[in-house]
């Protein structure tokens, strides 16, 4: 590589990094600005917006609601996704291609299309919009991601491990629970965190399938319509910090355990 291309490459990299982080940095800065007006210059700093956001019952209950939806939908997609990964790990069976395509479909269908079709569907089965419908929509959307991560790990597991378990007296269920699941654990942790973040972050499905009680992204959207406020910046900053820590932790623990 010549000196010029190296220079160009590093400039491109830093350009990308700035492009990525500048908006976030501005958002964080504004959440500490002691003024309702968003913009520079910042003359004095405050943490009042955080106090207000936390004291605001609306934000707190929306966050709780989003967390509940994330946890329950993740639990469902973990069971479904792991089961599908195990099914698809078998070398060949009739209809394997179809099962694989159906498993992956929710990951590639555009969010808006999937949200509208769910909306029609719940009307058809006479399910009211609300928590159950949102959980249902999120769970289906997250299954392929869990199946992919768990399936990749399963592909690296030697067949001899389950055979050894059976050889030592385990029936297929005990072999699965005591040998296969522990082997899959890092991938399952990673898949669960990813699924939690996807659900917590989802706007389109929650918007179409929800009733009057908003999830956090839906609440933020409705607040935005009445204008930006430093309070929104504060709550967004908090969400950013928590999700970043969770995501990085999951990535690190997956990498560490994958080596073993």
């Amino acid at each position: 590589m010549t000196r010029h291309t190296r220079l160009f490459m590093s400039m491109a990299y830093w350009g990308f990094a700035i492009y990525l982080f500048l908006p976030i940095t501005i958002m964080i800065a504004m959440s500490f600005k002691d003024s309702k007006f968003i913009g520079f210059p910042i003359r004095s700093w405050t943490t009042d917006w955080y106090g207000q956001a936390i004291a605001n019952g609306e934000f707190v209950s929306a966050t709780g609601y989003s967390l509940l939806v994330a946890v329950v939908s993740t639990a469902i997609s973990m069971v479904m996704g792991t089961w599908l990964a195990v099914l698809l790990a078998r070398k060949s069976f009739w209809g394997r291609g179809v099962v694989f395509a159906l498993t992956m479909l929710p990951a590639v269908v555009p969010g808006i299309i999937s949200a509208i079709s769910f909306r029609i569907y719940i009307r058809l089965i006479e399910l009211d919009p609300g928590m159950v419908a949102i959980i249902f929509g999120h769970a289906v959307h997250n299954v392929p991601f869990v199946a992919l991560v768990v399936g990749a790990r399963l592909g690296t597991m030697p067949r001899s491990h389950t055979e050894a378990a059976q050889d030592l007296g385990a029936d297929p269920l005990i072999a699965f629970l005591r040998v296969t699941v522990p082997y899959l654990k890092p991938a399952m942790v990673g898949g669960a965190v990813f699924s939690l973040l996807l659900s917590f972050d989802d706007f389109v499905r929650s918007f179409f399938l929800g009733s009057y009680e908003p999830t956090l992204p839906v609440l933020l959207f409705s607040k935005l319509r009445s204008g930006m406020s430093p309070e929104i910046n504060a709550i967004s900053t908090l969400v950013l910090i928590v999700t970043a820590i969770l995501g990085l932790w999951a990535e690190r623990s997956m990498r560490r355990m994958n080596k073993g």
Binding site: E163, A164, Q166, D167, L168, G169, A170, P182, K185, G260
Partner: protein, 355 residues
């Protein structure tokens, strides 16, 4: 109660168009160290997996300690296996790995602890009891896998090329160890390998397989000294193979016409004139500068002389074939490449095998 731990009765197993086992019959006695030897794809691993319960025969019956187990799943057989890659559970310590089979047998906590201590002390693994498999060496992993398989006290222990992953020096040491473990536990060992050296060192009995069939079944001495087929003669040890026509046969001795000369050796039966091969072990072919007084004598030109440490090896070109001969490493006769030499071997050292 029969004395045979294993009885495989006319078992056939096919994978698609490939016949892995063809009407296989064998009985194995309690306490035997039996090695199944053969090239890859000969059916030795399929036999092992059928005994473990991981493959089901297409036809035929498998008996373990007299009980028909043909349709019994692996977890309900009193058979344990040491896998080629050891298959130790990575999330469990050595102790937990060994405990796994004992817990599933429904043993009590104190009985399990006692058995773990017993087996791990016997295999000198006590210092590593709380280590995970990735924290111990290859040789230690191999012993941990052996401990795990021996702990539930199986009727039969299956070993699937368990020394393949070890380096040469360690392998030689483990071979001796395994043999003495087998002798002191009195367990029946069913060992699978493609390494003839391993088979000769450890086994009470060797079964040579080829193409889904048993070629020969006997003691290491039988197979080495009295091979019944050309395949066995060539697969075990190093040998010179001569191609000729059978002469007369009587009283276990036969003549073979080879390059206008009549050689005598051990022969079972056959019709004069039929094409045959004769096998002569390298170490039985003696080299000398003058014509020796052996039963069979051939002259030729020395092509190569190789020093192998424990012996010297000679490559001699005769009109019919290039033969290999050996001499002790302290034989000080100077043989020069290109010189004329004589090769000689006795009647008992040549085995004539029908094609």
């Amino acid at each position: 109660m029969t004395d045979d731990v294993v009885h495989i009765d006319r078992v056939t197993k096919k994978f698609g168009k490939i016949t892995a086992l063809d009407e296989m019959n064998i009985k194995i006695k309690r306490g035997e160290f039996v090695t199944f030897l053969g090239p890859s794809g000969c059916g030795k691993s399929t036999t092992l997996r059928i005994l473990g319960g991981f493959e089901r025969p297409d036809s035929g019956t498998v008996y373990l300690s007299g009980q028909d187990v043909t349709r019994l799943p692996p977890n309900r057989r009193k058979v344990n296996m040491v896998f080629q890659d050891y298959a130790l559970f990575p999330h469990m310590t050595v102790r937990q790995n060994v405990a796994f089979g004992l817990e599933l047998k429904g043993m009590g906590r104190s009985a399990i602890d006692a058995r773990i201590t017993e087996i791990l002390s016997f295999l000198e693994l006590m210092p590593l009891i709380d280590r995970f498999p990735d924290q111990i060496s290859g040789g230690q992993r191999q012993r941990a896998a052996l401990a795990r398989a021996l702990a539930p006290d199986p009727d039969l222990l299956l070993l699937d090329e368990p020394l393949g992953a070890l380096d040469a020096r360690l392998r030689a040491q483990v071979q001796i160890e395994l043999k003495s473990i087998q002798r002191s536990t009195g367990k029946t060992f069913f060992f699978v390998t493609h390494d003839q050296d391993e088979a000769l060192t450890m086994s009470d009995r060797i079964v040579v397989m080829n193409g889904g069939k048993i070629e020969q079944d006997g003691t290491p001495e039988d197979l080495y000294l009295r091979p019944k087929t050309r395949f066995v003669a060539e697969f075990i040890g190093e040998t010179n193979m001569l191609e000729g026509q059978l002469g007369t046969v009587s009283n276990g001795t036969g003549a073979m016409e080879w390059q206008g000369q009549t050689l005598t050796g051990i022969a079972q039966k056959g019709t004069p004139g039929q094409p045959v091969h004769a096998s002569i072990r390298l170490e039985r072919v003696q080299i000398s500068p003058e014509k020796p007084s052996h039963d069979n004598v051939v002259s030729g030109r020395l092509v190569n002389s190789l020093f192998k440490g424990n012996r010297r090896m000679f490559e001699v070109k005769t009109p019919g074939a290039t033969l290999l001969a050996t001499a002790p490493e302290n034989d000080s006769t100077a043989y020069l490449p290109g010189s004329e030499v004589w090769l000689g071997w006795n009647r008992d050292d040549m085995i004539i095998l029908a094609d």
